[in-house]
Amino acid sequence: MTDQLVHVENLTVAYPMADGAVFRAIDGFSMAVKRGQIVGVVGESGAGKSTIGKATLGLLDENAVIDTGGVMLDEVMVTRLEEHAFADIRGSKVGYIYQNPMTALNPVLTIGEQLIEAIEANTNKRGQDARAYAIDLLEQAEVPLPEERLSKYPHQLSGGLCQRIVFAIAISAKPDLIIADEPTTALDVTVQKAVLGTLVKLTRQENIAIILITHDMGVVAEMCDYVYVLRHGKLVEEGSTAQVLSNPSEPYSRELMAAIPRIDHKIERFAVPGGLGKAEDRERAIDYLMSRKADAGVEGAPLLSVKNLSKTFTMKATALKAATDFKAVSDINFDVFPGETLGIVGESGSGKSTVGKMILGLHKPDPGYEITYKGHNIDDLTSKAQKLAHRQSLQCIFQDPYSSLNPRMTAGDNITYALRAHGVLSRAQALELSGDLMELVGLPRASARKMPHAFSGGERQRIGIARALSFRPDFIFCDEPTSALDVTVQAELLNLMKDLQDQLGLTLLFVSHDLAVVRQMCDRVMVMRSGEAVEIGACDKVLVAPEHEYTLGLLAAMPRFRPEEVA
């Protein structure tokens, strides 16, 4: 038994495309992993990171072709094995951890069945032995009340617990290697830290090596000894974690590091290319946007003031269950001043998006609330014209750039269809305006004629911004606008939003789960937990020296990306 466990040698995985061309998901990539070593593979989406793990386990799509090279696992060339031969590798030699534990576990089978079937497939334990071992594994993975959990279903447990169960499945046969594909991306930051701790503990006990596939430099900094940086399927740079993170030698790695939002200090702009379109192109759009009715309410008064905002959702009764109430938001109060950005942070389910949706009028708040916008109570608006003006003045940028554009309309129509529906614009004016706005957000004017699927996620989000701007709004609710994007794309988009805000004096309500992004974007921040506001104040205070222990916990749990300290 040698010290060398995995050897990826000049691996190329190709997918034939419809037009006869070939797409290389991973191209001539080599890496080595020693026993017990934790190796990071980082890169943005489409870099081919997951392909490495899937090739090792024989889980590539049917049409994938291994062009050159292969993966050696313990002196066996696994990429040449037939499907049935993988029975000795999957689960028993290599454990796999999936990105999203909620989708990796089968929703209609109990935790016990899913864990025990893995034990029975890969060890010689059967029946009661297997069950006892399952409980033992769950204990090791730090799942509280292990015996009780066996009869539960995945949706009854939190994401963090589900991921611990996936860990228990992955280590059940004491494999030599675990491939962890974005193991904490779907988890909240407070959960992430503890879950990673458990993973390291479990693998250290058994001297299991980990290939950690991730886009999160903070996680890499805290966990890995050695790191490979990938881009478009090719290796950009490799080296010890300290060296790659603090002193990257390749331009792409440097750009990647510069794009990571930092929690410890605020910077004016990210050092990445991109942002607004060219100055001469965007003048007309700026003129249009500045021509909005200058009715910002009373000087010095808040633009938006929210009092006693609560929301209760009622879940309907079904055949085997009574109706239940769920309080998503309770008694929130805050002001937003003209030109400022107020952030709302909190973990998933804390009610942050619901607050925004109530302000936009997409959800009806529980009675007893008061929302004042530009000095008027929004429930006092009676005439159709007043209501329309109010709605146009408040706009939204959505989280998911893929589902928030109508896939059957061109980008330009997506930007202007609402204004066309209001009858404000003629067809020619709409074309003109959508072109202007495309240029403003840094996209070529001509691409307004393309359909949404022809754009990347970041470009789609730019279209989403252009659509929000088309109404000449004063206030934009940004609902996790960059959480679905890669870090360099996120940096470009955040730069763009800052520039637009500077130019137009927009007021933003910025919802995010990422404290570092909020630190970079917001003036003030409100921290929410299970529907309640625990703390509100200036970012420089709340995110530096918080008063509430929940905020303190959130900050402590964030994986730190501080290259100067790694080195």
Binding site: L59, A87, G91, Y96, P107, V108, E117, A118, Q156, K321
Partner: protein
């Protein structure tokens, strides 16, 4: 649970009320029972007497109210044509229909689901293309024509299965069933097959699209990565998940099979309830039609309720939150 059941019961009561009113008005508009039943030599007085005897001389809403009163006492009235209690007529024939419908559904599920799962898993194989060809054809050919073809094949050419009637029946709970005797079973085969072809095709298509969807879910990849056998992945991970949409459609379809087996019953001279309905509409025998449709409405309500319960049993996400 209790509030759910009471709500459902309330809804179905309203449904039955609306439905019976519609049928009352509909039958009144379409035809006059006196005109159908009266002989050619009836005088005006005879007709009046007949109308009085049938109770159709009074205003329609009074007839409806007294009908409702009777129903609440468990009396669905007397057939105009057979002059017998309506419920007796219906219960005599219902078992034959239930028998053929359930048998057809059984064949449909047992053949259709495995076919669908197989073709979903092996999308590129020739056999899959053949299955998809036959399911499309089976889906599109009219029911009555399929029936005639079946008779030609199995009764005329091969002479293996009888083409009409119920054959020997065995009494269970005081009702005759064909399914329990060999001769009865052979008589049941063709009508059941006739009804089953559509069900097979529908279930195969449902199971195939379900399989194709579930196959690419993360938990299927993860199950493979766990190293468990392919057979187990299909049996536990895949089939459990595709059953959820299948149960919904099966419920709807079972109702359909029972309520609208009329064509098949006619083709194979199967003495079921469909034929009774057709004859009664023809003879404007309103009590039979109304009682039949109320029964069918209640049956749909019951099936939907069972589907909801099965749903919750199959999908733990509905059961616990």
């Amino acid at each position: 649970m209790l509030s759910f059941v009471t709500k459902r019961l309330g809804q179905s009561a309203v449904l039955v009320l609306i439905m019976s009113a519609l049928v009352f008005v509909g039958m009144y508009v379409v035809s006059d029972p006196v005109a159908v039943l009266a002989g050619e030599d009836f005088t005006e007085e005879d007709r009046l007497a007949l109308a009085q005897e049938l109770g159709v001389d009074r205003p329609l809403f009074l007839q409806y109210l007294s009908f409702l009163g009777n129903v609440l006492q468990g009396d669905f009235g007397t057939s105009f044509v057979y002059n017998r209690p309506v419920m007796d007529l219906i219960l005599e024939r219902l078992p034959a229909t239930l028998e053929v419908a359930f048998f057809a559904m059984f064949i449909g599920l047992v053949v259709g689901i495995p076919l669908g799962v197989y073709s979903g898993l092996n999308q590129k194989k020739r056999s899959t293309k053949a299955i998809s060809f036959f399911t499309t054809v089976g889906y599109s050919i009219p029911n009555f024509w399929q029936g005639v073809l079946l008779i030609m094949l199995f009764s005329v050419w091969f002479k293996v299965l009888p083409a009409s009637g119920r054959g020997d029946t065995v009494d269970v709970f005081g009702v005759g069933w064909s399914v329990f005797s060999l001769d009865g079973l052979s008589h049941l085969m063709l009508p059941a097959l006739n009804l089953a072809i559509y069900t097979i095709c529908l279930q195969a298509r449902l199971a195939r699209s379900g399989t194709q969807e579930v196959m690419y879910q993360d938990y299927m990849t993860f199950a493979r990565a766990k190293g468990i056998s392919r057979e187990r992945i299909i049996r536990r991970h895949l089939v459990r998940n595709i059953l959820i949409p299948i149960v919904t459609i099966t419920g709807l379809q079972l109702g359909g099979l029972i309520a609208f087996a009329t064509v098949t019953e006619t083709v194979f001279s199967w003495p079921g309830i469909g034929k009774l309905l057709l004859d009664s509409i023809h003879n404007s025998d309103r009590p039979v039609v109304v009682a039949y449709l109320i029964l069918i409405t209640l049956m749909f309500v019951t099936i939907n309720f069972v589907v909801d319960v099965l749903y919750a049993l199959l999908d733990p996400r509905i059961r616990y939150t």
